[in-house]
């Protein structure tokens, strides 16, 4: 597997670990309904919402690719990522949305909104604007993701990784570890998340 695909999947796993992206909601559905199947049932809409957020970001990238020169797009992507990442270091606004009694549509919309508001799709954008024709330290495979098939496959691969990790964490917390874990092990991922956004921006800027 080439590095852009490995990166996509690794970022999927990273998004899956973040409680704000859905596993915690899945656990709470199970606790509220008092059955483990509710945890599993919450995962498909959470994954679908995440996939829609990624797809939306990639559509924006594709439109950008069709309308501005690649170098310009790369610098714009870098600037947006670094700016957004820095702003998230200092501001911790979370979207206000829904409540505890949610159906499939609500959960999908919630997941879409959370992923979009946190820049989950944006974080992947550099992989689609780095010019593989110009050799760089990572260019061994010479792959740049382009074309509808790549975009669709990237969305699916990323989301599958996110779903696998979020599902695993949700089930382990629900069945084995229990709620008390939230008090001890809920590290503040916001900082790391913001740094990941900045890092992606730096990568877009330097990897041209």
């Amino acid at each position: 597997m080439s590095w852009p695909w490995i990166t996509l999947i690794a970022l999927g796993a990273w998004h899956g670990v973040n409680p704000g992206m859905g596993w915690l909601f899945a656990v709470s559905r199970g606790l509220q309904e008092r059955r483990g199947s509710a945890v599993v049932g919450a995962l498909p809409p959470i994954a679908l919402g995440h996939a829609l957020a990624i797809a939306l970001a990639l559509v924006v990238v594709a439109v950008g690719r069709a309308s501005v020169p690649l170098t310009a797009l790369r610098w714009v992507t870098a600037a947006i990522l670094i700016g957004f990442g820095l702003s998230r270091l200092f501001r911790h606004r979370h979207p206000r949305w829904v409540g505890m009694r949610v159906g499939f549509r609500d959960l999908t919309a919630w997941s879409f909104l959370m992923a979009t508001a946190h820049g989950a799709g944006l974080m992947l954008a550099p992989l689609f604007v780095v010019d593989a024709a110009r050799p760089s330290c990572h260019a061994d495979a010479g792959v740049m993701l382009s074309g509808p098939l790549d975009y669709a496959a990237a969305t699916v691969a990323h989301t599958a990784a996110m779903l696998a990790v979020a599902g695993l964490v949700a089930l382990v917390v629900y069945h084995k570890l229990g709620l008390a874990l939230l008090r001890r092990a809920w590290f503040n991922l916001d900082w790391l998340w913001a740094l990941a956004l900045v890092g992606a921006g730096v990568f877009a800027a330097l990897a041209g």
């Binding site: 915690l24 509220q32 829904v98 505890m100 709620l179 900082w191």
Partner: protein, 466 residues
């Protein structure tokens, strides 16, 4: 922002019962003359009471921070953040429980005190002015504060002119800016007093007292006998901010005040205290519960008035020859098992086992103060005032009581004055309770109202997990 969640946040009420014992209490205390606008009236205060048994100052006031203005009538108050920050749909667990938001019920100011860096010496860091609340939300006389998953909810008794409707407004949980009115559709709701919610069911409940004009001059006998005070419980869709149902308990029951829903978000019952029945001066507790898709309510406790020698009664009650219990506050332990009921008129705190919420069983009682009895504390002679605000420690082992209700009403029911005291009750794990004979805090010329315990208590936090 912190690296790990604030250690005082618990995912569930069940886990919060394992919290360490509190070492401090924050207690607001009014200057009654100031609240009534009398000459020589001073400012109210936020006080810090030392509850650490290992401390030399145990059971005394460690700090008194005077408000910068007189006549606020500090009443109920709450934290900027609580366990609701762990809720799954708006997780924000790395904020700190740090600021106390203290509304003036009469002045409509909200003071923000910072309890860090020194929890024993909070400092005033911001004042939300009445005109900001009036301008942005259309409300005044802020009353109850609850930290929700997505912001701070505050309710208010009325509009800036002192009429209805009262309702809820939202404060930003970081900047404390007034965001605006909460209700999108208030339906028939007009009066306000208390509110709380069942987070697991996206349901908010609100109760009814009266508009500012109906209460600020004291309890108005004409309005009371005309059955004009509140007697309805309102059910709201918390998510869509719409009124969905009215539960009317009948207008002989006047003043439906405190609301105590189950702490476990999967449970769908709660308790409402009613001050007085105009039929027989009794007080009552009602249990609401969900039945299919709608809510129902029924009377589950009646506390009768006690016949008394008219000579010992204040003028307002002499014609009745009885002292009403005047249930003014309730509290529910975090395990949803024990309900505590303050009878401010008769000077009694009652404890009920509500394991079956529609069949409460009285399992404990202590007497202190009271309009007629004036029951002494082991450390004092006869006491005026009665059990009023009641707060329970998270582990359920200690209950704290304060003596004052509301300056204008204190004067009607205790014309000789209300002594400013706070006392502690020790609870047996299986039910039953006793006054701690060594613990009595004297507030001097001030009168204490609500108690907030360091790290949270049984009415400060909401939980999204069972």
């Amino acid at each position: 922002m912190t690296l790990r969640p604030d250690p005082s946040f618990y995912p569930s009420a069940r886990l919060a019962t394992e919290a360490p014992p509190e070492k401090l209490a924050y207690v607001v205390a009014i200057d009654p003359a100031g609240s009534l606008g009398e000459r020589g009236g001073g400012a109210d205060a936020l006080t810090v009471v030392d509850l650490d048994p290992a401390s030399a100052g145990y059971g005394t006031i460690a700090t008194t921070i005077e408000a910068p203005n007189a006549g606020d009538e500090l009443h109920h108050f709450g934290w900027n953040a609580c366990s609701a920050s762990l809720c799954p749909w708006a997780p924000n667990p790395h904020v700190e429980r740090r600021y106390l938001l203290v509304p003036g019920l009469r002045s409509s100011r909200i003071y923000v005190f910072d309890t860090k860096p020194n929890p024993k010496k909070p400092s005033l860091v911001k004042t939300i002015e009445p005109h900001e609340i009036a301008h942005r939300a259309g409300y005044s006389r802020p009353h109850t504060i609850h930290c929700g998953p997505d912001g701070l909810y505050v309710n208010a008794l009325g509009n800036p002119e002192g009429d209805g409707p009262g309702g809820i407004f939202i404060l930003d949980c970081e900047s404390f800016d007034v965001r605006g009115r909460w209700e999108v559709d208030r339906g028939p709701q007009e009066l306000a007093y208390d509110f709380w919610w069942h987070l697991g069911y996206d349901t908010l409940l609100s109760s009814e007292w009266g508009t500012p004009k109906m209460v600020e001059g004291g309890l108005n006998p004409e309005l009371l006998l005309g059955k004009k005070y509140g007697h309805r419980l309102h059910v709201w869709d918390l998510r869509r901010r719409r009124h969905v149902q009215v539960l009317d308990i009948g207008d002989e029951h006047q003043m439906a005040l405190e609301l105590r829903p189950a702490h476990d978000p999967t449970k769908t019952f709660g308790f409402m205290g009613v001050v007085v029945s105009v039929a027989d001066l009794s007080a009552s507790i009602w249990t609401w519960y969900r039945d299919g898709e709608s809510w129902k309510i029924e009377k589950t406790i009646t506390i009768p008035a006690v016949p008394a020698d008219p000579a010992k009664l204040p003028p307002m009650l002499q014609g009745f020859g009885a002292v009403p219990p005047l249930v003014s506050d309730l509290n529910l332990s975090l395990d949803d098992r024990f309900l505590y009921v303050s009878c401010w008129g008769t000077g009694e705190l009652k404890q009920y086992d509500v394991s079956d919420p529609r069949k409460p069983r009285e399992v404990g009682s202590v007497k202190i103060g009271g309009i007629v009895d004036r029951t002494a504390h082991p450390k004092t002679g006869p006491l005026t005032g009665g059990p009023q605000m009641v707060e329970i420690s998270r582990d359920g082992k200690r209950v704290y009581l304060t003596s004052s209700l509301y300056a204008a009403w204190d004067k009607q029911f205790y014309p000789d004055g209300v002594a400013g005291w706070m006392t502690k009750i020790d609870v047996n794990p299986g039910g039953g309770m006793a006054i701690d004979p060594k613990f009595l805090v004297d507030f001097g010329k001030r009168r204490p109202h609500q108690v907030r315990l360091e790290g949270g208590d049984a009415s400060s936090d909401s939980y999204c997990y069972p």
